[in-house]
Point group: C3
Chain length 654, copies 3
C-alpha cells in the first residue's frame, strides 16, 4: 500500500540560485517529500531556437535530490516562448470568432498544429534524455492543465483541416456523414469532406451532431497531443510515473481518454476559487466562502481516481487566497488541513501545495504560497508541517476499496447536454454533482465511474442519470451487475449520432425499464412539478412524460398524474430533475433497498472511508458530536467534539 | 366567405418515400386540408450546380394530391446549399462586427448580393415552371421567415455599395443628404455618395438619421428580394396565392411593404416560445408559461391581417414544446386548441401546425409535431383532429369586419425608437402591445393598422401613440375620420429625416391637439410621476412637459402640476407612458365617450368577434362563468362554465 | 482675484448666419461672458484637403466680439473629416479585438499615428495664425474630451510600434524589461523590443506589469499629442489661456500630466448622466435622480482644480436632460443653479452651459440647451440669467484657499487596481470618492491632490488610501508634513514595476507605520468583517492581515482579533475597506484629533468655503434649518430655511 505524502510546486527559475539550498532544506524540514518543477520554464531551457540551457535545471534537481526530495519534472509545452511563436505564428489557436489567441500569457497553441507538436516532441525528447534517468526524478507531468482558459477547441485552419480528416476517418463516405448528421434538414448536405466547416459563425445554431463530433474531435486532439509526449518519456525515462494535472468542473475533453495514457491522474484543487466560480446560489457561496463546497473536492477525487485507474494525486492544493476568482477570501483556519485530509481519505498518494513561495511578480503575485514573497512562513507553511507530522503519526497509506455505490460520469453526455440543454440552466456536471452530494449526505462512499461495462461490476447501487446515449453493452452490464440501477432523466435519449432513437428514448435501455419517453419539458426557475414522494418534493428544471409499459410499475406520480418514478425488476427510471427533498427521499429509499448502511449526517458533516479507516470532516461553523458515528472506536485524529474544520479519523468497527 | 381550415408543415425529403402515402392518408384522416412543403429542400432539388432533381418533389405532390390535400409550395431560398456558397462566398451576410455569417444553419445570405438574387430567380423559375400549374398547388410561400436570426441587416461590401446607391437615389445630391442627416454636427459631412459608410463600428453612436435610412434601406432590400420571386411566380403559376410566413415580435423590416406583394400574410405563432423571449416580468412568465401571453397572438393576427389586406394564415402553429426558447415547457392541455380558435376568431383562413412529424435529427429534434418521431400520435394529433371536427360542426368561415377601434402600428416608428430609445427600456413594440392589451381587456375588437390615411376611415376610436413622424396627410385623415384620436407620447416628435420639427413636436399634428412638447424625460424603473386620473395611476419610463395652447383643455395633470392629458375637439394628447392603472382608466374613458360597448372582462378572459360570431377564451386557471356575457345566446362551442383553456362561441345577440 | 462668470457652448456652423447676431445679443442679455466655439468644425474649416474656409468663423467671432463676448476657440481635432480618414485610413484606432474604430461619430483617431498628429499640427497652426491674435479670443480648448468613448487605448500597428519604442526608451535593454515585468514567470521572456506585443488577445490575463506600462504609455501618448498643439498655440496666440475639457469618473490617462500643459483645467459636469452611469445602488440613484450625487461634482471640482494648478472651469455644465445615460430625467427645479454655485464655491472661474440651443439633428438632439430648437427659452435660460444676476450681486470671485485636509488621488493607482482588482468590485475611483464623501459630510473642505511631496505641505490631515506604490520621497513628505496621515488599505503594496515590495507592503511606507501586510482577501457582497470601532462598523470587500511592529499600536481590531487600525506617531494604517459606519467613525476621530472644526451635517446637506465665503447646499427633498451653521452671520444668498436645491452663502464668522 502506497504511503501518503506531501509535496509542493517550486519554480527555481524564479529565484536567485543561492536561495535553492535553503529552500530545499526547509522543504524537508516541513516534511514535504515531492517537488514539482519545470513546467513553465521553456524560455529558460531553450532561450533561443535550438540552444538548450539545461544546466540550471540539473543543478536545481541536484539540490533537491541532495535534500532527499523527489522530483516531478514538468514538460514545458504549455508555455512556448516568443521566438517559437514568431517562428510559426500559425501555431496559435483561434477563438470562435476566428481571432488568433496570442502570446503573452500561457496555453497559446492549437492542438491541431502539427509543426508545434513536433517542436514539443523535440524539447521533451531533449529533457527526457537529459533527466529521464536521474534518481531524483520519480515522475513526469505532461504539459499543464489541458484546456485551461477554454483552450480545447480551436477554430484555426489547422483545426479545420484536421477535423475534415477526422470526419473522413470516422465516416468513410460523405453520404454516411450526411445521414448521421441529418444534413438534409436545412439543405446542409455536403458532397465532399473538404466542404466541412467548423461549427462556428453560423447564422443560428449549428447542427448538434456536427457540434458533438467537433467536441469529440477536439477531445481526441488533446489525447493525441498528450500521447506523443508520453511515448517519448516512456522510452527515455522508464519506470517513472507519468501524470497530468486536471482541473475542476471541467468537461471540455474526455479525461478518461487522456487517463488511459497516465499512470496517475492528478488534479489541481482550489476549493474557494471553484466555489466562487460555481453555479451555487449567493447564500451557499457566502456560507462556505472560507471552506469551499463540502462535496466538490471529494467528487473530483473520486472522479479522477477513476481516470487514473485508482491512482490519484493532488498536484496543486490551494494553500491560501488565490488570485483568479471573482472574489478571493482567505481560507478558514483549518481549511487547508481539512482539504488535505479529504484528499488522503479519498486515496490520494500525494497532496502537493501550490506553491512554495508566493511570486512577487507577473500574473499570479496575489496567489499565496507556503512562504511569503520575502521567504517568511505564511500560514500554510505551518499547516503543511502539522499535516506531515500527522501523516507520520497515523502511518497514512492508500487503502481505497471498491465502493458499493457507482455514480456514472460520461464526458460525451457533458458534451451533448452542453450542446442541447433545452432549458438554459441545464448542466450535466451540476446534475451529477448534485446526486453525488445526495449520496454522500447519507454517509456513503461513492465511486465515480465511466459508462463502461467493467465499471458496473461489484456494485450494489448504480446511479446513472442523463447518460445521453444508450448501448447494448451497457444495458447488458447493468443487467449482469446485480445492482439496483437508477436511470433518467434524459438517459438514452439520443443515439451516438445525436439523433432521437428510432424506438424513442431511452433507446437500448428501454427493455431494462420498459418505459418510453414521449415528451420532455424544461421549466423556468420557480416553476416546479410536485411529486408525491416527499413533502415538498418536486421536479424542477426538467420533466418527462413517459409511457410505462406492462412490466413497469409506477412507484411515484407527479401531482398531474404523470409517472415520476417507475420500476421494472432492479431498474428504475426517474422522469425529471429532483429538487433536494425529492432527491434525498429517493436516494434514501434506493440505498436502503440496496442494503447499504446509511449514516444520517447533519448538513456540513461529511464522511469518507479509506479502506478500514473512516474519516469525518466538519465543514460547518459549530462543533459536531461524533459519538453516534464513532461508537466504541478510538480516535486517531480529532476529538469527540469535532470543531469547525475538524478532521476525525478512526478504524471502522467491524 | 372563406371556409376556415387546418394545415400542416411537412418535409417529405426527411422521410423514406414509403412513408408518404400513409402520412397523406393520416393527414386527411385528421382533417387537415393544406400541406406546406419544400421550403428548405434546395440541396435535394439541385444537388449540384445546375443539376435539378424535381422528381421526388413531383411524386410527393402527387401523393398529397391523391389524398385530396392542397399544397403550399415553398421556395427554398432560405437555405442555399454548400456548393452555392462555395461558388460565391461573398453571398454571405456580414454581422455588425464585419464577420461573414457562415454556412451551417440557415438564412446565410445577404439581401444585397445580386448574384445570389439571380440564383434565386433561377431556382424559383425552374420550380414555378415545373409545379406552377399543378392542380394540388394552391399557394406559394416565398422564402421562409425573412429576418429570422437577425438577418435583415448586413454589413457586407455588397450592402455598402447598395446603400450608397439607395442614398443617391433618395437624396440626389450629397448636400441634401448632409442637410437631412445634420452631418455638420461632428464634421461628418460627405462630398460624394461613395464616402458613405455603413453605420457600424463607429467610436460612439452613429448618426440616428443615417441609422434610420440604413434600416429603411435594409427593409427595402427585403421587399425587393421578395418581389423578384413574386413576379416569377405570378408569371408561371397564375391564380395561386402568394404568401410569406412572418414572425412574431419582429420589427426589423416593414411588413406592410412586403405585404403589398402578398395575397395572404401568414405568420408563425409560437405562444410559449415568444412569451419566454419577451420582456414580460418573471411572475407573468411563470403564470402564463403553458398558455402564452393572452394578447400576443391576437395582436399579431390583427397586425398581419392588415399586412395581408384582410387575408391571414397561421403558417406555423406551435403544437407542443419547442426547442428554441430559454425554457421550453409543454403547452397546457387545451392550449393548442385555444390558440387555433384564437386565430380563427381573428379571421385566419388556415391554421397550419408545425410540423407533421417530429424530426429525430439536426437542429430542431426537440421541437414537437403532431406525430412522435416514431410516427405514433403525439397529443397535438388528437387536438388537430378535434379542432377539424369542430370547424366542420360550426361551419367556420372568415367573417371579419372592420373594427371600431384602430390601433396604429408603424414600422418606421419601431426603427426610430430602437435607434433613439432615450431611456434604455423604451420599446415601441411593447408600448403598442400594451395599449392593445388594454383595449382588449375592455372586450373591444381592435384593428391594427398602418399609419395610412385610408386606415383611419370608419373608426370611432383611433389610438396612435409614439408615431415618430407626423404628416399633413395623416393629420387630415385624423381630422376627417370623425373618430376620437389619442396621440402621444412621442407622437410627431421627429420629421421624416429624424430631426426635431422646426415648430417643435408634435410637428404637423400640432394643429390637431394645440400642444407643443418642450421637454421630455425618461425614468428609471421604480420612478414614476403620479397622475390624478386614477388611484395609483402614473406615468412610468417616459414623461413630457407640454405647453398647452389656448384651444387645448387640460383633462388630467401630474402631481407636479404638469399637464398629463390634453384635449382639443376630438384630439387628445397623452404626455407620458401610462402604467396599467392609468392606461385602463384612460381607455375606458375614451371608449365610453366614443360610444363603444364595453364588456368588463376579468383578467385572463379574452373575447373576439368574427363578424356576428363571438368567441370567448379562458387563459386563466379557473372556470369562468359566461352567463353575463352570453345573455340569451346559445353556445355553439364550450359551456357556460368555461374551463381553463376553454373556448366559447356564440352568435352575438342583436 | 478672478471674477466668476458664466459661459456657453455655441455652434454657429449649425445655424443660419442670420441668427448669429440675435444669438449674441441674447447671450449678453442673459449675462453670459464666455462662448466656446469651433471644436467640432473641421469639415467646415477645411472642406477639402488643403482648402481652408475660415471666413465664416471669422465672422462668427466678430459677431460675438461685437456683442462683448469672450471666445474660447476649440481645435477641431476630435472630429477629422471623411476626406482625411480616406486619405489615411490607418489613422483609425483599433479596439482590443483589433478592429478599426471607424468614421461616423467622433474621436476616430489613434494617438500614436504620426501622420494624423502632423495633420493636427497643420490645421491648428492655420487656426492659431488666423485667430490667435483676435482680441475676442481669450482662450483655446485643445481637442475635446480626451478619451471619451474609451479612446485612450488603441491596439493599432502604430500603437504597437510606439509602445515598443516607449519600452525601449524606458528600459534600455530587454533584460531590464524582462526583470521588471517578471517575464520568466510563464516563459514570457523577450530577446528584442520588437518582440513586444500589445497586451490584448492573450489566452488568459496578460502580465499586469505589461498592462501597467501599456496604460502609462497610452496616457503619455495623450499628453504628447496634447503638447504638440499647446506648443503651436503658445507660439501663435501668446497670453491666451489654454485649457482642455476633462470628463468625470474617468481615469484612463493621467490628468495631472496633461494638466502640466494647461493654464486652466476644465471639465464637463453632467450630474444626472454621471449618476445614472455610476456604481451607486438603485435606491441611491432613484433618490438623487434629479439632483445628482451630492459629492460627485464637488470631488471633480477639487480634483481638476489641482490638475489646473488652482485654476478651474466648468466647460460644459448640464442645463437639462441629456441624451446619453441609460435613463435621462429632467433636473429638479433649482438643480442647475445648485450645480452652478457648487462649482463657484469650489473656485471655478467660469461655468459654461452646454449648449446654447438644442440641436434638432444628429446624435445629440435629445440633449437640452438654454434654448429650445426653435429658439424659445428653455428653463435653463432663465436659470442662467438668474445666476448671472446673483453673481453680480455677490461680487463673486475665486477665493479658494489651501485646505487643511488633503485626499490623495493617483492615476497610476487607478491603473494598477483596474488591472488587478483582486475582488471584482474593487474600484479605486469609488474608494476615493467614498472617502471624499465621508470627509465632506463632516463639513470639511478637502483638497484632492496628486501624490507629490509638495502637495503634502501645510496640511493637518492627509488621507491616502490605496496608493499602489510607495516612494521614499513621499514617505519623507508625509513625515515632514506634520499632518496626521491615514494609509491603507493596499497602500504601498507594489513597487513601481508592479511587483510586491521585497520587504512586503507597504514598502517604503513601512517605517512610517511599522506594519507589514502579510495577507489580503477580497470579500463577496454581503460578507463583512465586523470592526469594534463603531456599532455595525465593518470591513467590506477588502481586508488585510497585518503584522504590527513594536512601534505600532493597534487602535482597533476586527472581531476575529486581527488589527484593523494601527498607529505609529502621526501615521495610521487601515487594514480594510470600511463600510459607511466605520468610515464615518474613523474620519471623525481623525479630524477631531487633527484639530479640525467639524460641522455635523445631516445627509444631503453639503458645505464648501470659497475663502472666507461659506456656501451651503441642500440636495435633499425637505427644507433645512441653517441656524446652527449660520450663527450670527447674515445671508448673501438663500434663506434660513434652505429649501430643496437651495444655495446659501454667507461670510464665515471669525
Ligand atoms: Zn488553470
Ligand atoms: Zn424563425
Ligand atoms: Zn463625452
Amino acid at each position: 500500500m502506497t504511503k501518503q505524502r506531501l509535496g509542493v510546486c517550486y519554480y527555481p527559475e524564479h529565484w536567485p540560485e543561492d536561495l535553492w539550498t535553503e529552500d530545499a532544506r526547509r522543504m524537508r524540514d516541513v516534511g514535504l517529500s515531492v517537488v514539482r518543477i519545470g513546467e513553465f520554464a521553456w524560455s529558460r531551457l531553450e532561450p533561443e531556437d535550438g540552444r538548450y540551457d539545461f544546466d540550471w535545471l540539473a543543478r536545481a534537481i541536484d539540490v533537491l535530490h541532495e535534500a532527499g526530495l523527489r522530483v516531478v519534472l514538468g514538460t514545458p509545452t504549455a508555455t512556448p516562448p516568443k521566438w517559437l511563436v514568431d517562428k510559426m505564428p500559425d501555431m496559435l489557436a483561434r477563438n470562435a470568432q476566428g481571432r488568433p489567441r496570442g502570446f503573452g500569457s500561457r496555453r497559446h497553441y492549437c492542438f491541431s498544429y502539427e509543426p508545434y507538436a513536433r517542436e514539443c516532441e523535440r524539447i521533451v525528447t531533449a529533457l527526457a534524455q537529459a533527466f529521464g534517468a536521474h534518481p531524483a526524478v520519480v515522475a513526469w507531468q505532461i504539459d499543464n492543465e489541458y484546456g485551461c482558459h477554454d483552450t480545447v477547441e480551436s477554430y484555426s485552419p489547422a483545426a479545420r483541416e484536421a477535423f475534415r480528416r477526422w470526419c473522413e476517418h470516422k465516416y468513410g463516405d460523405i453520404g454516411a456523414l450526411n445521414r448521421a448528421w441529418g444534413n438534409v434538414f436545412w439543405s446542409m448536405e455536403l458532397s465532399r469532406f473538404d466542404q466541412i466547416e467548423l461549427p462556428h459563425l453560423t447564422v443560428t445554431e449549428a447542427n448538434p451532431a456536427c457540434l458533438l463530433d467537433f467536441k469529440r474531435f477536439s477531445s481526441d486532439q488533446v489525447a493525441a497531443f498528450h500521447r506523443r509526449q508520453v511515448e517519448i518519456i516512456r522510452r527515455h525515462s522508464p519506470s517513472r510515473d507519468i501524470l497530468h494535472n486536471f482541473m475542476g468542473a471541467f468537461t471540455a475533453f474526455d479525461h478518461f481518454a487522456v487517463g488511459r495514457d497516465l499512470d496517475v491522474a492528478a488534479w489541481d484543487s482550489y476549493p474557494l476559487g471553484f466555489l466562487e466560480r460555481s453555479h451555487r446560489d449567493e447564500a451557499f457561496k457566502r456560507r462556505f466562502m472560507r471552506v469551499g463546497d463540502p462535496d466538490f473536492q471529494a467528487f473530483h477525487h473520486d472522479l479522477y481516481r477513476a481516470c487514473g485507474a485508482g491512482r490519484l494525486w493532488i498536484m496543486e492544493q490551494q494553500p491560501g487566497a488565490v488570485n483568479w476568482a471573482p472574489w478571493n477570501p482567505l481560507p478558514a483556519k483549518g481549511a487547508v488541513r481539512l482539504w488535505s485530509f479529504e484528499a488522503f481519505a479519498a486515496g490520494a498518494e500525494v497532496v502537493s501545495y501550490f506553491r512554495w513561495r508566493q511570486a512577487p511578480f507577473a500574473q499570479e503575485q496575489m496567489h499565496e504560497g507556503l512562504l511569503l514573497p520575502n521567504s517568511e512562513p505564511n500560514e500554510a507553511y505551518h499547516v503543511a508541517r502539522a499535516v506531515a507530522r500527522e501523516l507520520e503519526s497515523i502511518d497514512a497509506k492508500v487503502e481505497t476499496e471498491c465502493a458499493d455505490v457507482a455514480l456514472v460520469f460520461d464526458y460525451d453526455s457533458a458534451f451533448a447536454w452542453e450542446i442541447e440543454p433545452q432549458g438554459q440552466d441545464f448542466s450535466y456536471f451540476d446534475l451529477i454533482l448534485d446526486f453525488y452530494g445526495g449520496l454522500r449526505k447519507l454517509g456513503l462512499n461513492v465511486d465515480v465511474v465511466p459508462p463502461t461495462p467493467e465499471a458496473m461490476a461489484r456494485r450494489k447501487l448504480i446511479v446513472a442519470p442523463a447518460l445521453f446515449a444508450s448501448s447494448a453493452a451497457l444495458t447488458r452490464a447493468f443487467s449482469e451487475s446485480g445492482a439496483l440501477v437508477l436511470l433518467g432523466p434524459r438517459s438514452g435519449s439520443k443515439t451516438e449520432d445525436f439523433q432521437i432513437p428510432p424506438g424513442l428514448p431511452p433507446g437500448d435501455f428501454r427493455p431494462l425499464v420498459d418505459v418510453a419517453i414521449q415528451r420532455v419539458e424544461s421549466l423556468r426557475p420557480g416553476a416546479q412539478i410536485p411529486v408525491e414522494a416527499a413533502e415538498n418534493g418536486a421536479f424542477v428544471r426538467w420533466r418527462e412524460i413517459i409511457a410505462a409499459g406492462a412490466e413497469a410499475a409506477v412507484l411515484l406520480r407527479c401531482d398531474d398524474g404523470a409517472p415520476a418514478l417507475t420500476r421494472r425488476e432492479r431498474f428504475l427510471y426517474l422522469a425529471g430533475l429532483p429538487n433536494d427533498l425529492l432527491r434525498d427521499a429517493l436516494l434514501r429509499r434506493l440505498a436502503n433497498e440496496a442494503g447499504l448502511t446509511l449514516i444520517d449526517l447533519p448538513e456540513h458533516i461529511r464522511l469518507r472511508d479509506n479502506g478500514p479507516m473512516r474519516y469525518v470532516f466538519n465543514y460547518g461553523e459549530r462543533d459536531f458530536d461524533l459519538s453516534p458515528i464513532l461508537g466504541e472506536a478510538s480516535l486517531l485524529l480529532g476529538e469527540r467534539r469535532l470543531p469547525p474544520c475538524g478532521v476525525a479519523l478512526f478504524r471502522r468497527p467491524g
